[in-house]
Structures are given as structure tokens and as C-alpha cells.
């Protein structure tokens, strides 16, 4: 690490300024514009005339809106919490599976690693198209379940209160599981062998070794991955919007789709901006958390 | 080959001062070792000389030319890093020739000089290998070779042997000494290992907490240390220190009385230093100190006796040949007065002959005098 000296200033600026200039143009100016809009009643149709300043009316409206509670619940519980939990558990399970001795001996390890890459390379829009076909009334799942006699009538997986969130989570999980699994796989590869040997000397069985050696070793990775997953999913509007359009009704509406619907379908730019600012505020809190507990620890060297 | 002068050089990282007013001269062809415990600023000192760290105060002269603002690359120095810092993506040959390539030397000249350096270090068979294919010792050589190729005015070594095992370290030490003789170049060498310092150096610079402690030849530092720190740092096994007081030229402590010292002062906080090899074990009842033995380590040519004096001071004594001693055995030691070094309460050396321990400078308070009188 080179301490700051005036002689380095020119070089440091040359390295940083182009990127930060672009980022400022891209993020800061639009975010400011957005913040201002959130205090106006601007709609797309009144763009020529401009919106009127309405103070915090938009924020008051959205807090009073009964649907907004559902939106927050959906975003926090389903998108942030459940989807992350599922992916962490499945990702861990899959990584352990691929890493396991029987799978290696069966010659499946390479195939499994290739298979992992398939969902990753699939663009979300394509993933949704395929899975919607699977969930369709005449789709794969209904046919299989009907043939197996599990159900007697086709089920609208994406149109049913009981199944729509699990189905959505399945799409999200399929498409984003690879990153989680690969991360855990990589972490598993760095498992210190001598710790296992020591545990074995201490008479630990498979389960104890897993709990006392493997899990603690993976714990930091799980924390980081969990935080990243929450962030990525929270902001992602594609899955929900393309899979259910926030429906049935507004049953799967989340913050990102609410911003989109208010801004791009109802044209209420002011209100939509207010919802957007709520998102930014939540993300700032989360970001501070992330920065404090993860980023600044990972990079304490450079701080 | 050139001279280097540091003039009240100081360095701080933010609010932390790492080096304080260091002044010293390094003359042409000297092998200088900077030594001190970790965190004493010795690496920082080397890096300021290299130009990797800008200095905060003072000036640095290379052949009389101030180089404070001259970037590292332009100072004409070469450095061997503790980690060797070999470029992993370049072969040994490319590693060694990189500086010349950057300097725009013609290919033929680069090849010639790389080959010459490789020959000196017996690296020819390794030239086309990558660093990851070399053993630790070989990497070490390549790092040195990379420095030699540049034909620098001064070689800088930053703890270059610390990653090698003990046997190899001893071997390379000799080779380094040889290399210095052959090249005749100025070398500045940083280490925390006093054995390396003693064996390699023409001149040792002892640093502690960013302060210069003493500069001198190894024998000077060994025989005539300026302070407790240097005395304790140089020599192995370490010098023994026995706390006590000085009254009318006689050192007094619960465990040892010895004198007279030609020092005209009374002092309550006085320490006597005696090297283990100067202590001899004498017939019971004939010594001036009694040692309760903890353990005796047999080293072949000699035995190190570890034990405690009656005031619990830890003492090491060296006995020639094999000496069998039980734990808790009591033996008598002879601690000869003429080999004893005196250090005052600040840890500074009090030299008997030159009167450096003047009463005015070191006057104990009235209360202390009382204690001295009674001790």
C-alpha cells in the first residue's frame, strides 16, 4: 500500500476520474432527478407541462395504500428471505453432493459441473419462457403429476395462491443456483485436509465432521453469499414481472414491479419515484450493513 | 558502487513516526547490515533508501547528490525482496533481464549480462524455468541474480534469507559474503537475525522503535555496546543482566557484589551485563555468585547452564565440554568484574574510564540516595 503523497495525485486521479465520472452521470444525476420527482405529481402525460410540487404526498399515499404492505411483505419475506434461504440450502446440498466421494467415483462430477453452467448461461427472460411452459395447464408438470395420479385436475401453478410463490421461487432458484453452488464448491475445495484428519483422530463420524469442520469452514462464504443473493434478488424485477406480471391479482407484487407498474403502466412518475426512493433507502441500509460486515472485512487491506 | 549518506532522515505514516532523525554514512564497498526487532523500522529504512517510500524529513544523498525526489527506478539501486518478488509469468531468464529490457538495452547485451550473472550464481540450467518450478533456494538465487544483472551502485536486501531453512541459510550466508567480496559492491542488508548481522556485516546498524541505537563493526557492538538494547540484541546466547545498585564504585545486589568500578557515582538503578561465555563455574564456595540450576543444555563443545541467582535473576553460563548437572543443583559462579558492563537506569552504558557516568548527569534524588546507602 502506497501512502498518499502529492506526487501520486495525478496518477490516482487518472485511474479514478474516468470511471467515477461515468458512474456519477449514470447513477447520481438520475437518482437526484428521481428524488425530486418523488415530491411532485408528475405523470408521463404531464411531462411537457411538468409536475406540481406536492411535498411528501406520494409517500403518505403509499404508506396508506393497503396493497403496499403486501408489496413490502412479498419483497422482504418471499424474495429476500425465503428465496435466499432456499438457494443457500440447495446450493450447499448440491455442492456437497458434487463434492462427495460416490459421485466422484460414479464419474458424475464433471458432468454435474457442466450441468451447473447450463442455467447460468440462460438469460432470465429465456428461463421464464421455458418454466412458464413447464408450469402451463398442459405443461410438463401437470402431465407428470396427472400421470402419477398426484393430482386429478391440472393445476395453474402460476395462478394459484398456494403454488404461485413456490413456482416463482423455483424459476429464480433454477436460474441463479449455479453461482451459489459454484461458490460453495470452490470453498469446499479449500477445506483443510488436516482438520479432517484431526477430527478423525478425535473419533468424529461423518456427521460430526460435517458439523464441526465443514460447516464452520463454509460459514463465512454462506454469510457473504446470503447477503449477495438478497441484494441481487431484491433489485431484480425480471423474474416476477415476466413470470406472473405481479399476479394473480397483485398477489406476487414486489417493490421492483410496483415501481414498474406505477411508472410504466399507470404513468404516475411521481408516485413511482417515491416507491423507487423507498427501495433506495432500504438498499442504503442494507448496503451499509453489507459494507460494514463484508466488504470492509474482505478488503481491510485496502481500507 | 557508491556512498550513501542519510541526513536526519525521518519518515512517518500519517501520525505515526516510524523513523526518527536517522543520520549515517555508508561508504563505498561496505557490507552494511541493518538489524533490529520486527517493527523497529528497518524495512522502512531500506525502502526509503530504495525510493519505494517517500521520506518525510531530512535528506538522502547518493554520491553526494540529493535523491529525495528521485524515483526508485532512477536511483540505480537493486533490491532483493524477502518474498523474492519474482514475476510468476516470466522465466528465470526473463525475470533477470526484465530491468534491462525496460531500460531498452539491446537483446544481445541483455543475454550477455543475464548469462554472466547466471554463471556467477550457477543458475544456467534453470534459465528457461518458471519461478513456480524452482525450490526456495533457487528462487533466492534468481532474486539475487536479478539484482546482479543490473550492475547496481548499491544492493539492497530485505531479509532475503528468512524464507529458507536453517541449513540453507548458513550456506547462502557464506555465498553472499563471497559474492560481496567478488563484486566489491556496496550492500545494505536488513535482518532481524543478529547471527546474520554478525557474520555478514562490515558495519551493523542497530535500530529500535525508529531510533538509531548504535552503528559499528560487529566486534565493537559485541564488546562495547552503547546501551542495554544493543548489548542484549547482539551475541548468542544473550548477555546476562543483573539489576542492582552502585555505591562508591561497588555494584551491589542481593545476588552479587562486585567491584571496584572506576565510576564516580552512586546510583540505585544500575544493571550489570555479563556475557555467558565470560562466566566461569568454579569450585563450590569460591565464586562470587550462587546459581540454582534449572537445566543444562549439552551442545557438544560446550554446555549451556540455565539457572537463577538468589534474587531470581535468570542467568545463562557457558561451560566448556560436557557438564552433568541435576535440576535444582547449586553451583558457584565467578563473574569477573573486568568483563562486567554497567548500564544506568536509562539503559545507557556507563563506561568506567571515560567518565561518561558523571554524577551531575545522573544524579539520583535524595530519597534514592538513601536507598542506595542502605542497599
Amino acid at each position: 500500500m502506497i501512502s498518499f503523497e502529492r506526487q501520486h495525485l495525478g496518477f490516482i486521479l487518472a485511474m479514478l476520474v474516468p470511471a467515477f465520472l461515468l458512474l456519477a452521470l449514470f447513477y447520481i444525476w438520475p437518482a437526484t432527478f428521481n428524488l425530486w420527482n418523488s415530491f411532485t405529481d408528475l405523470t408521463l402525460l404531464s411531462m411537457r407541462q411538468g409536475g406540481n410540487f406536492v411535498g411528501i404526498q406520494n409517500y403518505v399515499d403509499l404508506i396508506r395504500d393497503s396493497g403496499f404492505k403486501t408489496v413490502i411483505w412479498n419483497t422482504a419475506f418471499w424474495l429476500a428471505f425465503v428465496s435466499t434461504l432456499i438457494r443457500l440450502l440447495l446450493g450447499l446440498g448440491l455442492a456437497l453432493l458434487i463434492h462427495s466421494e460416490p459421485v466422484r467415483r460414479a464419474g458424475l462430477r464433471t458432468i454435474a459441473r457442466m450441468a451447473i453452467l447450463l442455467p447460468w448461461a440462460t438469460p432470465p427472460i429465456v428461463a421464464v419462457v421455458v418454466w412458464r411452459q413447464f408450469f402451463d395447464g398442459q405443461g410438463l408438470f401437470n402431465q407428470i403429476f396427472l400421470d402419477l395420479g398426484i393430482i386429478s385436475e391440472p393445476v395453474a401453478f402460476l395462478g394459484n395462491q398456494a403454488t404461485v410463490w413456490p413456482a416463482l421461487l423455483m424459476i429464480i432458484t433454477w436460474n441463479t443456483l449455479p453461482v451459489v453452488t459454484l461458490t460453495f464448491l470452490a470453498a469446499l475445495q479449500t477445506l483443510p485436509k488436516d482438520l479432517f484428519e484431526a477430527a478423525e483422530m478425535d473419533g468424529a463420524g461423518t456427521w460430526r465432521k460435517f458439523v464441526d469442520v465443514t460447516l464452520p469452514h463454509l460459514a463465512p462464504t454462506m454469510v457473504v453469499m446470503g447477503l449477495l443473493l438478497v441484494i441481487w434478488t431484491f433489485n431484480n424485477f425480471v423474474y416476477v414481472w415476466l413470470a406472473t406480471g405481479a399476479g394473480p391479482g397483485t398477489f406476487t407484487n414486489v417493490l421492483a414491479t410496483e415501481v414498474f407498474m406505477k411508472g410504466f403502466i399507470s404513468f404516475e412518475l411521481g408516485y413511482s419515484s417515491a416507491v423507487g426512493m423507498i427501495m433506495v433507502a432500504i438498499m442504503l441500509v442494507f448496503g451499509a450493513f453489507y459494507f460494514h460486515f463484508v466488504a470492509s472485512r474482505n478488503f481491510k487491506e485496502i481500507m | 558502487m557508491s556512498t550513501l549518506t542519510l541526513d536526519r532522515l525521518s519518515k512517518s505514516f500519517g501520525a505515526v513516526d516510524v523513523l526518527h532523525n536517522i543520520s549515517l554514512d555508508i561508504t563505498d564497498g561496505e557490507f552494511v547490515v541493518i538489524v533490529g526487532p520486527s517493527g523497529c523500522g528497518k524495512s522502512t529504512l531500506l525502502r526509503t533508501i530504495a525510493g519505494l517510500e517517500p521520506i518525510t524529513g531530512g535528506e538522502l544523498y547518493l554520491d553526494g547528490r540529493p535523491v529525495r525526489n528521485v524515483p526508485a527506478a532512477k536511483r540505480g539501486l537493486a533490491m532483493v525482496f524477502q518474498s523474492y518478488a519474482l514475476y510468476p509469468h516470466k522465466t528465470v531468464e526473463k525475470n533477470m533481464g526484465f530491468a534491462l529490457k525496460i531500460a531498452g538495452e539491446p537483446k544481445a547485451e541483455i543475454d550477455r549480462r543475464v548469462l554472466k550473472a547466471a554463471r556467477i550464481l550457477k543458475l544456467e540450467p534453470l534459465l528457461s524455468r518458471f519461478p513456480r518450478e524452482l525450490s526456495g533456494g533457487q528462487r533466492q538465487r534468481v532474486a539475487i541474480g536479478r539484482a546482479i544483472v543490473r550492475d547496481p551502485s548499491i544492493f539492497l536486501f530485505d531479509e532475503p534469507l528468512s524464507n529458507l531453512d536453517a541449513a540453507l541459510r548458513a550456506e547462502v550466508r557464506v555465498e553472499l559474503r563471497q559474492l560481496h567480496k567478488n563484486l566489491g559492491a556496496t550492500m545494505i542488508y536488513v535482518t532481524h537475525d543478529q547471527v546474520e548481522a554478525m557474520t555478514l556485516a562490515d558495519k551493523i546498524i542497530v535500530l529500535k522503535d525508529g531510533y538509531l541505537q548504535q552503528v559499528g563493526a560487529p566486534s565493537t557492538l559485541y564488546n562495547d555496546p552503547d546501551n542495554l538494547f544493543v548489548a542484549g540484541f547482539v551475541g548468542s546466547p544473550k548477555m546476562n543482566f543483573i539489576p542492582g545498585c552502585l555505591r562508591q564504585g561497588t555494584f551491589l545486589s542481593k545476588a552479587l557484589q562486585t567491584g571496584p568500578f572506576n565510576v564516580d557515582m552512586d546510583c540505585i538503578d544500575m544493571t550489570v551485563g555479563i556475557r555467558p561465555e565470560d562466566i566461569s563455574i568454579v569450585e563450590f564456595g569460591k565464586g562470587n555468585a550462587r546459581l540454582k540450576v534449572d537445566v543444562a543444555e549439552y551442545l557438544g563443545s560446550q554446555t549451556l547452564v540455565h539457572g537463577r541467582l538468589s534474587d531470581k535473576t535468570q542467568i545463562i553460563a557457558v561451560a566448556p565440554g560436557e557438564l552433568k548437572l541435576e535440576a535444582d543443583a547449586e553451583i558457584d559462579l565467578d563473574i569477573p568484574t573486568d568483563k562486567c558492563l554497567l548500564f544506568n537506569y536509562e539503559g545507557q552504558r556507563v563506561r568506567p574510564d571515560n567518565g561518561s557516568g558523571k554524577v551531575e548527569r545522573d544524579a539520583p534524588s535524595g530519597e534514592k540516595l538513601q536507598q542506595v546507602a542502605s542497599c
Binding site: 498518499f4 447513477y27 453432493l97 427472460i125 413511482s272 423507487g276 442494507f286 | 518478488a85 509469468h89
Partner: protein, 283 residues
């Protein structure tokens, strides 16, 4: 190591055989789950209707690909490839510069600058669309490669910087200093020493960026209206008409959109795995 936690000495062999079979069966199921949808797309794209199972008779055809090619899909492919490649190059170059300054120098406001990079990763893009649209319209950047490249560079820059800082941490600073002693200028240090060493990291980062851009829909939708400027995700969406959906074409377009990413991924597989660990999310 197996997950099955059976440790009864007597039944051990017997149990472990069952355990092993169970584990392998589970792995096969997982592979099927991961691969099936992608296989479905590729098979479906060669079938007469997009839905192989309800099609009854499976008739193989290239008609779907003919359809998408007739609907300008080759132009969309060119646009996607061009925009993404240029944006990835610019983004990665800028990210290397920023990451280098972050990892090797101290400077005022550094903590804040790094925090803003971290936050940039979290920013909800959906709120940027309208303001950026206004900005682009005024600057004449709608329907332009420059505008899209600007967007995509900024979208993936924060994450790229974050990842590359991680990789740079793994390149010892001694090497920079050795190079400085060897006479390299700052730029030479970066180009000749640091860059070659973090190449795996750069490749991984660039791949991530590429994927992010390749699948991006929201900005492309807002800023690209001319047919000749559209990217592949938009082209794909065009087959969802209001009154008719050409499922065969949708499958073919999906396959065409997925394939390049797949081709990019497979050879880089091992690098990407190490990328995940040593880069962004090292434990």
C-alpha cells in the same frame, strides 16, 4: 465424504452401499433438474411447434430458425455482440484502473469511494430508466451504440471493480515494487506485471459483465426503438405479439440467445469457479 450419516459398525457396509446409491441417484436428479430446461429449449427450437410434448407428432424442422432470421435476428445478434464486447472491454479496462488505485494507493476519501462502489452494486436500476431516458434524449443517445455502451459499462462497473480488487489483493505488492526497482513506470507496472498476473481474474470479471449485459432487457427496451439497433432479448420479446405468439420462433430465439453465453462459459468453467472464490466473495 458422504452426507449420509450412518455410523453403525455392523451395518456399515450395507448402509454405506445404500447411502452411496442414494447419493448418486440424488446427483442424477439434480443434473436432470439443471439441464432439462436448456435441453428443452434446444430440442423445442427444432420442432414444428414450440412445445414438444403437446405437439403430438414430433416433426423436426429448421423453420423456426428461418423465421427468426427473416425477422432481423442476425442484426440483433450483431448488435448484441458489438455492444456487449465493446462495453465489456471498456468496463473491464476502467475497472482495472480503479481497482488498481484502490488496492495500491492511499488517498483522501478512499473509504467513501469504495463504499460508493459497493452501493453501486445494490442500486435498483428500474428507477433510473426514466431519468436516463430524458438525459439520453437530450444528448441524442437514444438508438445509439454509444448510449447503450455507456449504460452497460456503468451497470457492470461497480461489480467489476469489486471483483478485481479481490483479485488484485492476491497479487503481491512486492511485485509492483520489484518492477518499480526494475525501472518500470507506473503504467508499465500495470501493463507488464500486474495485468498478466491477474488475467484469470480479468477473464472471470469480463465474463460476468458480458452475461449481465447480454441478458439485459430494461435499458435496451427503453433506449433502443429502431429495429436495426435492437439487441437479442428485445428481438426475443418481439415474437410475443399481442394477438399471436410464435412459440417456435420464441424457442429458436431463446436458443440463439442462450448459445453464445454457453459457448463462452464452458471453456472458462474452471476459471469462473476460482473467480467466484478469490474475487467477489472470498470467505
Amino acid at each position: 465424504m458422504t452426507v449420509a450419516a450412518v455410523d453403525q459398525p455392523r451395518e456399515r457396509d450395507y448402509a454405506s452401499i445404500i447411502g452411496n446409491v442414494f447419493v448418486v441417484a440424488l446427483a442424477v436428479l439434480a443434473i436432470l433438474f439443471l439441464a432439462l430446461p436448456v435441453v428443452w429449449i434446444f430440442v423445442g427450437s427444432f420442432l414444428q411447434t414450440g412445445n414438444p410434448i403437446s405437439a403430438g407428432s414430433m416433426k423436426w424442422t429448421f423453420a423456426n430458425y428461418r423465421t427468426i432470421i427473416e425477422n432481423d435476428f442476425l442484426i440483433f445478434i450483431f448488435n448484441s455482440v458489438f455492444i456487449c464486447i465493446v462495453a465489456v472491454i471498456i468496463c473491464t479496462a476502467l475497472a482495472v484502473m480503479v481497482a488498481y488505485a484502490f488496492s495500491r494507493y492511499r488517498f483522501p476519501l478512499k473509504r467513501m469511494a469504495f463504499a460508493s462502489i459497493v452501493l453501486g452494486q445494490l442500486f435498483p436500476w428500474v428507477i433510473l430508466v426514466t431519468p436516463l431516458f430524458v438525459m439520453f434524449a437530450k444528448a441524442g443517445l437514444l438508438n445509439s451504440y454509444v448510449g447503450m455502451i455507456f449504460c452497460y459499462v456503468c451497470v457492470s462497473l461497480p461489480f467489476s471493480v469489486y471483483m478485481l480488487v479481490g483479485y488484485l489483493e492476491a497479487v503481491p505488492r512486492d511485485l509492483d515494487e520489484a518492477a518499480a526497482m526494475d525501472g518500470c513506470s507506473r503504467v508499465q507496472i500495470v501493463l507488464q506485471v500486474v495485468l498478466p498476473l491477474m488475467l484469470p481474474g480479468i477473464v472471470a470479471t469480463a465474463t460476468y459483465s458480458f452475461l449481465l449485459m447480454w441478458t439485459e432487457y430494461l435499458f435496451a427496451l427503453a433506449f433502443l426503438t429502431e429495429t436495426t439497433m435492437k439487441t437479442m432479448p428485445l428481438g426475443l420479446a418481439l415474437f410475443f405479439g399481442q394477438d399471436t405468439v410464435d412459440w417456435g420462433a420464441v424457442m429458436a430465439a431463446s436458443a440463439a440467445t442462450t448459445l453464445p453465453a454457453l459457448l463462452l462459459f464452458l471453456p472458462l468453467q474452471s476459471k469462473l469457479v476460482s473467480g467466484v472464490t478469490s474475487g467477489s466473495v472470498k470467505g
